[in-house]
Amino acid sequence: MSAINREQVGHLAELARIEMSDEELARVAGELDLIVESVASVSQAAGDDVPATSHPLPLHNVFREDVVGETLTQEEALSNAPDSQDGKFRVPAILDGE
């Protein structure tokens, strides 16, 4: 695996929505490089015939009945909001549409 540079970490930080200074980017790039190097062997461990395990125990079909349960009040919903208005959460302007 190739070394991780500062630009790459910059892109990752953007994806992860974490503002980072140049020094921070450089430091994290170095740390990440070390970590990635030491976990690189993982990609060589298993052959193609080994299935992936995403759940430790093999459960399936865990469903809920379609029955309405207890809800929060508007006051409870907004109780921890950094900012709210008219019963809604208020946020600064959004850069562009999704």
Binding site: H11, E14, L15, R17, S54, H55, L59, H60, N61, V62, F63, R64, E65, D66, V67, V68, G69, E70, T71, L72, T73, Q74, A77, L78, Q85, D86, G87, K88, F89, R90, V91, P92, A93, I94, D96, G97, E98
Partner: protein, 501 residues
């Protein structure tokens, strides 16, 4: 400077359009996809929420079993294969309407895949649209943009978020690229979305109200030079929310792409938005590396495993597909193509079917629903289905005519009163005393009066001028305020005069 759009005709002369649709259907389950908050529209903001809907720290999702069944039903209705095992995946992106900053969706294992839908265009041409997949996911909250122009996101100063809709179950249906539609592309687009809407409504899994966003369409359009086989660069116009807008969007995008390509410029792969006011699309943000959704299997949910028994049980519960039903009804009823199309367009298939089932003939059912009832609806500017007239009313009305209780003219009057909410036809005839006068005693008296007043007419009839009987019927009808059966009056007069009719 090149023009913004080419004429549709010129565009089609030079290019072949390729379409693709992503239709999101909001299910009408009682609760959300992953939590027990109510799935209802129009309530006070942030009241249909649980800690799960808000993505509070520590919460976990649990799948709504009803929504899974709805997804399987839809998959079956779209002739899809149903996955034996599939899991949910997280689609990671930051946006304030998405409480967890990831959408729980499906990625490499959709619940339904490889299906098709046969569409019938207005002139009866059939067109098959291949379905790539249908997968389960959750809706986002609703943003209101404040301080900008007309609620648009551009220039807004801030936004307000209501999470009532966050977590509402969605099924996203994705088509394979649709080629060969040519000039019928806009019409096909409309027909496709209309068919999806009809199917989900027929299945009873969605309210299918486009104005409420129950069915939303993202329309992909690209052009390739006539005869080419390699697809061009596509644009994706988001959230087109009416059938008319779908048709217009596709038409507009074909014209716009054509103008771009004709000017020798490359089409930008981007998200666009449809504006009903200007009947045009504008660019959103271009697709970029930033669209790295980092999908991975949702570790808080376990896989959905389907069995053949379960699928067959659901298949058996499916209602007849709308298109097949139409074919069957048309054959059963014996209507002409035109008659049947009018019935379909008037939206009274159900009414006519029920009217026939309740005992009326196909002709009688059509006569009333497409005749007087349609006129009353038009007069009141409402849909026929929204009038308080029921199939049972029509059958009852027809029975009154057959039994000689009322005539056609009275029947129309009675219908008017049914629409006014005065009761059933029989009740109205009774309460308003509208029945034809079939009491021979009363009629005979009226006939005697008329003959006494018009001896000359009586003589004419006696002399063989039978058609003169009409002159006597008029006054009798008048005397009985139109409630007499004209045929019976004629019989009585001729009988009295010993003349053969």
């Amino acid at each position: 400077m090149s023009q913004d759009v080419l004429s549709f005709e010129e565009a089609l002369e030079r290019f072949d359009p390729v379409l693709g649709f992503e239709v999101h259907v909001e299910l009408n389950t009682k609760t959300k996809m992953f939590d027990a908050a109510p799935n209802t529209f129009g309530d006070e903001p942030n009241t249909n929420v649980t800690p799960v809907s808000l993505g509070l720290p520590g919460v976990l999702p649990v799948v709504n079993g009803k929504a899974v069944e709805s997804a399987i039903k839809l998959g079956l209705a779209l002739n899809c294969s149903i996955a034996q095992k599939c899991h949910f995946a997280r689609k990671n992106y930051f946006y304030p309407d998405t409480p967890k900053n990831f959408q729980t969706s499906q990625f490499d294992e959709p619940i339904a895949f490889d299906g098709h839908l046969d569409l019938e265009l207005e002139d009866g041409t059939e067109f098959r649209v291949e379905i790539e997949r249908a997968h389960m996911e959750e809706d986002a909250g609703k943003l209101t943009h404040m301080g900008g122009d007309a609620g648009r996101i551009q220039n807004a100063q801030y936004s307000l978020v209501d999470y009532n809709r966050a977590g509402v179950p969605l099924i996203e249906i994705v088509t394979k690229p649709i080629v060969g539609a040519g000039e019928r592309a806009p019409e096909l687009a409309r027909a496709y979305v209309a068919a999806i809407r009809e199917i989900v409504k027929n299945l009873g899994i969605s309210d299918a109200r486009m104005e409420r966003g129950n069915v939303r369409c993202d329309a992909n359009v690209s052009l390739m030079p006539k005869g080419a086989t390699q697809f061009g660069t596509r644009s994706e116009t988001k959230n087109v929310n009416s059938l008319r807008a779908v048709e217009r969007t596709v038409r507009y995008e074909i014209q716009r792409h054509a103008a771009v390509l004709a000017a020798g410029v490359k089409v930008t792969q981007e998200t666009r938005f449809w504006h009903e006011d200007t009947r045009s699309t504008t660019a959103g943000r271009p697709k970029s590396d930033a669209d790295d959704y980092r999908y991975f299997p949702e570790p808080d949910l376990v896989p959905v495993v389907t069995t053949a028994d379960w699928i067959e049980e659901l298949r058996a519960s499916l209602p007849e597909p709308p298109a097949e039903r139409r074919k069957r009804l048309k054959a059963d009823w014996g209507y002409t193509d035109e008659e049947f199309r009018d019935v379909v367009n008037a939206g009274v298939l159900d009414e006519i079917e029920q009217t026939i089932a309740a005992g009326a003939s196909a002709a009688v059912a059509r006569k009333w629903w497409m005749g007087e009832i349609a006129r009353l609806a038009k007069q009141r500017e409402v849909e026929i289905a929204d009038l308080p007239v029921t199939p049972a009313h029509v059958v009852e009305l027809n029975g009154l005519i057959d039994g000689g209780k009322i005539n056609d003219k009275l029947a129309k009057k009675v219908l008017g009163f049914v629409v006014e909410g005065e009761g059933t036809p029989a009740e109205i005839v009774e309460s308003r005393g509208l029945a034809v006068v079939s009491d021979d005693g009363a009629l005979t008296a009226a006939v005697d009066d008329a003959m006494a007043q018009m001896p000359d007419v009586v003589e004419k009839i006696k002399g063989g001028k039978v058609q003169a009987v009409g002159a006597l019927i008029g006054p009798v009808m008048k005397a009985t305020r139109g409630q007499a059966d004209a045929g019976r009056v004629r019989q009585i007069i001729l009988g009295k005069l010993g003349v053969q009719g």
